[in-house]
């Protein structure tokens, strides 16, 4: 099933991206090639030493939205710009994204040829022009294939992120695997396991009652409930390693592994610390109000996970995959 989900995420992603880009092209969402009349408030005129104009492009939100469509700008446009002549009869306007940049332009700037700086062209300004503001007719650079470009860079960025996450695990993994090894040698894991045998025998009937995998799983679940993610992952991986020693068919998940995974993905936690922190930061009057509801939610998820793992493991198609070796 993972094969299908995996390929669906990729194919669906690319198809939707291409579809969105095609829709943008047909509706001309970014108004490629369409001139826009703006006012340019001059801050610095060209001098003999500097050939550029500096100032601000000013436009009301209504004017901006009448060209780009409703919701393109929330407030009046106040866009710093630099105008330079390149000798070809057109001047180039460079607009760096900033706080006064309308939403659509900020989005376009992310996908511009020079990311973060939206470029436009305009007829050359007359250096002799009077006044502090000049009318300007600009044509913004064409923006195309926004989603497909985003998909490409996401693929590359996430591949790098995956390696960073894995490498980042090394230290904390080494620490906890070392501590766990001492606990194992000292017989402490066996004591913890024995105390919880009535529970583990029901959850993991395929695992012998004093197997070290049980101790690691108990530690992992306890760490998860306390929200100690740094400690929980190494303990969980230790448990997987121990469970794999009982695996008659390497490369294929055992029933105990799936049940253990179900408990982990259910994510039973006593204090959802991250959600509480975000609520507090968002100005909640009572950030901890979700403790009870989260325990109920994650409790239901965990019970459903355990129950469905026990039911689905009996389905012929999943049984065949583990029994193939015994035939």
């Amino acid at each position: 099933m993972l094969n299908y989900i995996w390929i669906s995420l990729i194919v669906l992603g690319i198809l939707v991206a291409a579809g969105n880009d095609a829709a943008d092209e047909m509706e001309n969402t970014y108004r490629n090639g369409v001139p826009l009349d703006v006012r340019f408030e001059i801050a610095k005129r060209p001098t003999p030493l500097r050939s550029t104009w500096e100032g601000t492009i000013v436009l009301s939100a209504a004017e901006f939205n009448s060209l780009y469509g409703p919701g393109s700008a929330d407030s009046a446009v106040d866009q710093p710009a630099t105008i330079s002549a390149d000798g070809s009869g057109r001047s180039t306007v460079t607009m760096a994204a900033g706080p006064g940049t309308p939403r659509l332009w900020a989005e376009m700037a992310r996908h511009a040829a020079d990311p973060g700086r939206l470029a436009a062209t305009t007829p050359p300004l007359n250096p002799a022009a009077e006044g502090t503001a000049l009318p300007l007719r600009i044509v913004v650079e064409p923006i195309r294939f926004v989603r497909l470009k985003a998909v490409t860079s996401a693929a590359i960025d996430y591949a790098a992120a995956a390696v960073n996450i894995s490498i980042g695990l090394i230290g904390v993994m080494a620490l906890w695997l070392g501590v766990m090894k001492v606990a194992e040698e000292a017989g402490l894991l066996r004591i913890i396991t024995r105390a919880l045998t009535p529970l583990t025998r029901r959850l993991f009937p395929d695992v012998p009652p004093d197997h070290p995998a049980l101790g690691a799983m108990i530690m992992n679940i306890a760490a998860n409930m306390l929200g100690l993610n740094n400690a929980a992952t190494p303990m969980g991986l230790k448990a997987m390693e121990e469970l794999n020693k009982l695996n008659p068919r390497l490369g294929t998940a055992t029933n105990a592994m799936v049940t253990f995974l179900a408990i982990n993905t259910g994510g039973l936690v006593l204090i959802p610390a991250t959600a509480i922190a975000v609520r507090a930061a968002a100005g909640s009057a009572n950030p901890g109000i979700i403790i009870g509801t989260s325990i109920i939610g994650s409790g239901c998820a965990t019970i459903a996970g355990i129950a469905s793992s026990r039911l689905l493991q009996r389905l012929p198609r999943y049984r065949r995959q583990v029994e193939a070796d015994h035939e």
Binding site: L169, L175, L237, A262, T265, G283, G288
Partner: protein, 181 residues
Amino acid sequence: MSEAFRTLVNAAAVVAIPLMFVLFLGWGVVRKVKVYEVFVEGAKEGFATAVRIIPYLVAMLVAIGIFRASGALDLITRLLAPVTSFIGMPPETLAMAFMRPLSGSGSLGVMTELMKVHGADSLIGVMASTMYGSSETTFYVLAVYFGSVGIRNTRHAVPVGLIADAVGMLAAVWVVNLLFR
């Protein structure tokens, strides 16, 4: 009651790790284990395990990254909105339900955004944060845990994980509607 519980669990979380160090290593000393040597012996596996996860995590995160960047989630949310309103789930929280199993940072972003727009104590804010607390990032856990022991055939793990997520999300919707509506 809730406040006392919170203080208690927070205190437990703070002392848990130092306590584990003292208990585990101390027990080793009592049992005459050569603690330093055994620690190093165990820690050696850390590197190999972390490196073994890489191909699995790359495969998983790249697929999720492509899906997120494409805008497919918006499309699904729009298509399913009429159905979810029917079960008392505001359509805004649908993105949360779909993002939660796929990406931890993504669902954190959705939760933060929903609270910024609707307020942390609004029904949507409470529901989004309950949803966040009601499940784990299934596909990440799947890639890391199974990757560490080289499991490629995950058998029923994906349907089980998704059933758990779906039940967690629906339970969150139900309990928040029950208590906060």
